[in-house]
Symmetry: C2
Subunit: 514 residues, 2 copies
């Protein structure tokens, strides 16, 4: 093929004089792209320099420079009397133009903890409108206080607002730290603003804590099951994760005590209130024993409390932080606005002894310097103006309705094939399959029927919990909950029936050589 | 002292029935606080249960429970017939009520790279209205496009906007990735949105890269001088930092080549355009040689480019990313909206080969899950609507005026005692003191005179550059620049004169045994 086009447009060259890129480079890049994309084959002839220059409205020297760059790359060849033609590819790796060593990026990456691809897949399912997703632990979006935050942001940026678009201290925007300290003090924990650090959600809080406190080889005690993201964080810094079971009253303190007696432990990580994923709450008596046990062994406690304000009943247990009597403190408290307002502002907070806050601020400075001060101002004002409590009152009325809708639809649909403990707060129903059915098997069936959930093994450090699942009901409207429960029930029945049939038709498992 | 008050108010107890904290705890906590603060001395008598209950309007059982908790803590003693009194402290550590082991938090912290406290001090100075601060590398606040972002946020939240207050993928909000890819492609680099990851500013970009690519003991080549925050990040992950000098044309490629031949290097970190802190730009010829050198040794390059769009002159050099011809790429590009819009939204981006993006997304998921999608939407829209270029045009006219104001005021004030290379873009004037005067010595004098800057040794991996300083002129109005230059000149003259005097009065340095 020969390019006989008499103007640059025929070559598909569009110059942008405002781009700040030299024109000769724009010409060369355009031709290079066309060669790489196969639009200009080897042997094709480029327009003479003078003609292309004329049609593009550039100096001839510009085209000469472009052709020269392409020649230097081995992409074109100039022949006296015959003009410039596209070269034959010299190597199979035409794309790179020269036989240059390719960097092995996979090889260059530092080791990482293997991530379960299932979570990404579940995330993608949540986007589909034909799937009822029990996956996401988010507040009910139709109740986000959007109008109030719209007006707060407008107010902030209307009144100048440059100061809220700057950097801010790594510890956080002072008025938000004060508002949080005030709120927590009001709830029975005396907290000074100096002991509060703002972080980008609980996830960052956990990460900062892990980096501040853990060294490779350190042991962290977690609950079985526990928050998946915490397992990843602890492992990513090289810590060993040891799990202690949770029963209907929370963490098993006797087992914890045994464990602390057997090996050195750096940190205890617990979600004592409306736990993720089980919804279980640690009893007052166990809270006291947990504190005493940890104190006796000199081990600090990280209390992760995203759901503490989302209890559906009147009574409320004091946090571990509030109960702690260790001089200087033995509890680091962590919470987030993601579960009580909305996740998008990426704001959470840590309450810790001041030496820990100082170190956390240092890590925060490394990781991202600080969090968005405009968002911090807006949330601080929302607290200061007393808007959070009415908002929470509304949610505390809605979530138990949703829980009950889900529970009754499931009870009707699957009977005793699925069991659970009704949570008294939070976002999650934790359910167990009867008859040794695996949740991942049900999940495959469920996705085909248009419903998704998180299989419980993801919340276990050791691959346990294969017969469990987490169903987040907080963000689903009642009819969606019913529809999802109905589909899930069918999926469970299908798997259960298949099991029964297989057992009847094949009483002994076939011998398999693997 | 005996408490004879007949009502609860006399005990300073204020109950909050809406607090969600059990009333008995509120009573106990209040008394405990008063004891700890010395308001209730040992031996003081508490009101009889029935009387306190009456005055507080609570059940007698509530007061009994409160006194019981205080007794269990050893804080009060109940005597038949004599009522309840405050106990004698059992240990010197009265605050903790029981002789409990205090956790040694400093001991519990993981090791960290020592931070220079100077930066915090300089940050505090920047807050003072009587100090002209050349410290902060931020855009001119009076030109932040606040009105436009106010209107964008209003638009987003007016149209529902729940979707922008949710979690978003760790790689970033797709429309912003697309807008960035489009802008970079327009500038002569073909970038697909899949190769773009959104991060919380350049600082987080650097952190994610360090975590994705570096292992303890790996060597990173940096420039001398270079961005202080990068030095901290690389060191925080255990990397060794080796510096190669920058001259007036940028990184010394011959020295780099020697170094790469001598030892294995994992990464080259460079700021090729309007470098922080020197303002120097790597020449086109050196860019080509840098790429060839790195390629020959199989070492990837991290191109940090926060200031690339802030050149004051017409011509613009292509980025290393644009010049890179290595198949699969050898350059990871990093930039931020902090320097071209404002820092507060905490948004930057990385362009990298897809295997690197996948790993960065994993690290981002650990560190904070994702960045604020509302802010991402707003910046994406700002780009899509073509608002950034007019904004940058405005800034590109203002900054050289500020640079010139600073330069002429300094030239007038200090003459040859301070020298510099006039930057052609960016935020910084990098200046060198004549006569072996140390910048930190000048800084002490300068602060006393009401002006602050960053001493150059902070930008060196090895403590070099003690006679240098960085002066950020971008955020200061012309009269402030003149005032700051005048004060700085006086500080330099003062130190310089003191030197001369000392030299005259003490011609030989005293012998010192260290």
């Amino acid at each position: 093929m020969t390019v006989t086009t008499s103007n640059g447009a025929g070559l598909g060259i569009a110059l942008d004089r405002a781009a700040g890129v030299p024109l000769y480079r724009q010409i060369a890049d355009s031709i290079r792209r066309q060669v790489q994309q196969g639009e200009l084959a080897a042997g094709s002839q480029l327009p003479p320099e003078r003609r292309l220059a004329g049609s593009l409205g550039v100096d001839r020297s510009t085209v000469i420079a472009a052709y020269r760059e392409l020649a230097a790359d081995g992409l074109v060849e100039a022949h006296v009397g015959r003009g410039t033609t596209i070269s034959q590819p010299k190597t199979a790796d035409w794309h790179g133009l020269r036989p240059i060593q390719r960097l092995d990026w996979q090889q260059l990456l530092a080791p990482a903890v293997a991530a379960d691809p299932l979570l990404d897949e579940l995330g993608a399912l949540a986007e589909r409108s034909d799937v009822v997703s029990f996956v996401s632990g988010i507040p009910a979006p139709e109740f986000y206080p959007i109008a109030e935050f719209r007006s707060l942001l407008d107010e902030a940026l209307g009144a100048g607002g440059e100061g809220l678009l700057q950097y801010c201290p790594p510890e956080g925007f002072a008025p938000l730290r004060t508002a949080i300290a005030g709120r927590m003090t009001h709830q029975g924990t005396t907290v000074s603003p100096h002991r509060v650090l703002i972080c980008a959600g609980s996830q960052q809080g956990l990460y900062l804590l892990a980096r501040a406190l853990l060294e490779p080889g350190d042991t962290v005690v977690v609950e079985a099951p526990t928050y998946h993201g915490a397992l990843l964080v602890f492992r990513s810094v090289g810590a060993r994760v040891v799990a202690v079971p949770v029963d209907r009253h929370g963490l098993d303190i006797d087992r914890l005590n045994d464990l602390l007696g057997r090996r050195p432990v750096k940190l205890i990580y617990t979600l004592p209130t409306f736990q993720n994923p089980t919804g279980v709450t640690l009893s007052l008596e166990r809270r006291q024993r947990l504190l005493e046990t940890a104190r006796r062994h000199g081990v600090p406690i990280v209390e992760d409390d995203p759901y503490g304000e989302l209890g559906y009943e009147e009574s409320r247990l004091p946090s571990l932080l509030a109960l702690d009597r260790t001089p200087g403190g033995s509890v680091i408290y962590l919470s987030t606005f993601s579960k009580i307002l909305f996740p998008g502002f990426r704001l959470g907070w840590i309450v810790a002894p001041e030496p820990v806050i100082a170190r956390l601020a240092w890590v925060k400075g490394l990781v991202d310097l600080d969090s968005n001060p405009l968002a911090q101002w807006a949330v601080g004002e929302y607290l200061r103006r007393g808007r959070l409590d009415p908002h929470l009152d509304r949610l505390r009325a809605i979530y138990p309705e949703r829980r009950d809708r889900l529970v009754s639809a499931l009870a009707e649909g699957v009977g005793s094939r699925l069991t659970w403990q009704r949570p008294a707060g939070g976002f999650y129903l934790w359910a167990r399959l009867a008859g040794a059915i695996r949740a991942r098997e049900v999940l495959t069936e469920a996705i085909a029927l248009g419903v998704a959930f998180v299989p419980g093994d993801l919340y276990h450090a050791d691959g346990g919990g294969r017969d469990t699942m987490r169903l987040a009901f907080s963000a689903l409207a009642p009819d969606q909950l019913a529809l999802g429960a109905e589909r899930l029930s069918r999926a469970i029945m299908t798997v259960s029936d298949r099991r029964t049939r297989n057992r009847e038709s094949a009483p002994r498992p076939p011998t398999r050589i693997v």
